[in-house]
Symmetry: C2
Subunit: 324 residues, 2 copies
Amino acid sequence: MRVVITGGAGFLGRRLARAIVERGHLRDATGAQREVSEVVLADVAAAEGLDDPRVRPMAGDVADPAFVAAAIGGDTDSVFHLAAVVSGEAEANFDLGWRVNVDATRHLLERCRALARPPKVVFTSSVAVFGGALPDVVPDNQALTPQSSYGAQKAVGELLVHDYTRKGFLDGRSLRLPTVSVRPGKPNKAASSFASGILREPLAGVEATCPVPAETRMWLLSPRLVIENLLLGHETPAATLTQGRSVNVPGISVTVGGMVDALRRVAGDAAAARVRFAPDPAIERIVRTWPRDFDPAYGRSLGMRADADFDAIVRQYVDDELRR
Amino acid sequence: MRVVITGGAGFLGRRLARAIVERGHLRDATGAQREVSEVVLADVAAAEGLDDPRVRPMAGDVADPAFVAAAIGGDTDSVFHLAAVVSGEAEANFDLGWRVNVDATRHLLERCRALARPPKVVFTSSVAVFGGALPDVVPDNQALTPQSSYGAQKAVGELLVHDYTRKGFLDGRSLRLPTVSVRPGKPNKAASSFASGILREPLAGVEATCPVPAETRMWLLSPRLVIENLLLGHETPAATLTQGRSVNVPGISVTVGGMVDALRRVAGDAAAARVRFAPDPAIERIVRTWPRDFDPAYGRSLGMRADADFDAIVRQYVDDELRR
């Protein structure tokens, strides 16, 4: 079993690779459980910090078809396509966003289609495909009305995955991930970067700025459950995907104020006091268009699940990233 | 006022050009009514049969950015983007469909965006963006779930038009046209071609084959009202488009049997007897995924309208195409 992860040097890519090699086996396109022999981490920079002989970093541009062809060899069984230009950057740089989030996705699907034995493809989509006037709780059949370029690009990616799958070119699955919190490391250009920053920075003794009001409600999932649900989305037999190839991944609906309260409960008043609210209209405008809550019945029926509450998410970060 | 119509040599393109030069004026991007000085008909073949000095045919490939740049000069005020690979052909030739229906649309939008004074863009989308398990009457907020490559490609086109408009690159409008009936001329590779053929051929004394059962319900609009609604979609001020840039254009919901009944009432038993039912699974599979009826409240609120009934549609064809 040979697996390729695009965006593999990123936080989620590396965690996914680690989970795959620890697990040791995955279900291939025929439904058979097979031993994992190699996990290729394709990304702009070579992935670091994964000390396993089965993990092979490959540096290159996923928007370059030659690199994608090299990474996705004819013996590839599964592709997790995580590489993307994040929301804030896609909004600031329109052309880069369409090139990487759409053109590269299409090249990747073309590459898979061209192989004699096309791999299974798991595409990470986003709740940003929804936007505008939304119900308080978004149902599975909600229309895609993105209000950001990132959301529009992910919606196009889903349409591609759906059509390639419908035509029998490959077996694709699009998983709409909630905002991932708490991400370790540095802030990034995602409009949702603060949803990790307001936990991570205070826990490190550093002040954090929250660019949206405390009452802003978000749809969140921890890194551990993102990985668990990505693997579940991969393992689910095609016959089980009776409601289409796009799945709203479960999450929890929490206000930013509620996130800070959880931080206070887990790490104390001093940590919570390090969060400063300073509205940023550009970020607020993007975040305000995102859905705040879902009824992810389809995803749940596939066995996907969310964290118990945000306290559990904060504790998970402390366990996974600070206690190591 | 300089107007470019892609697919301009086609039946709708020529009718639209005729309507524009007869009308003589259109509202430009600033909202001002301006005299029409030129209508460029860009298409693979030079348009014929339009004897007006303001109409200029241009032959070329809309999937070729150089041709699009030549057709859409810096002085272009409005573009009607009608050119497309039709549904049956897009299903049979996957790569051609994505190249023409998506890549060419994106190149066209890029060309418009690059101009100092970007033109208004009217994009013809289709009810094929809907599909699968649909309510009997499709509401305006129905999710886009295309079940054909053509529908997926039109959905991507709408996402592009929406995002270019949202970013302020141009003023775009996507009009989801019902199946157009009765089209004159020869059958084409659209899966819906029979929806004209079963009227047109019998009226010319020729037998016609209907590839779907008589109880198949379709969403239809006559050529005259397609043109009227396209012009209305163009003229509507941007401020009026409060529910987004994609509009379900009104139509009427009629079964194929009802269409033949109308033919009988307008042209007699002999004409109706020329329709032979012979199921074609490939056509049936595509048509069955299309919506059968709509509540096009948004389109109606913009002033768009449908034919009174299918008898009126048959009579219109007799008046417009057979009595000339």
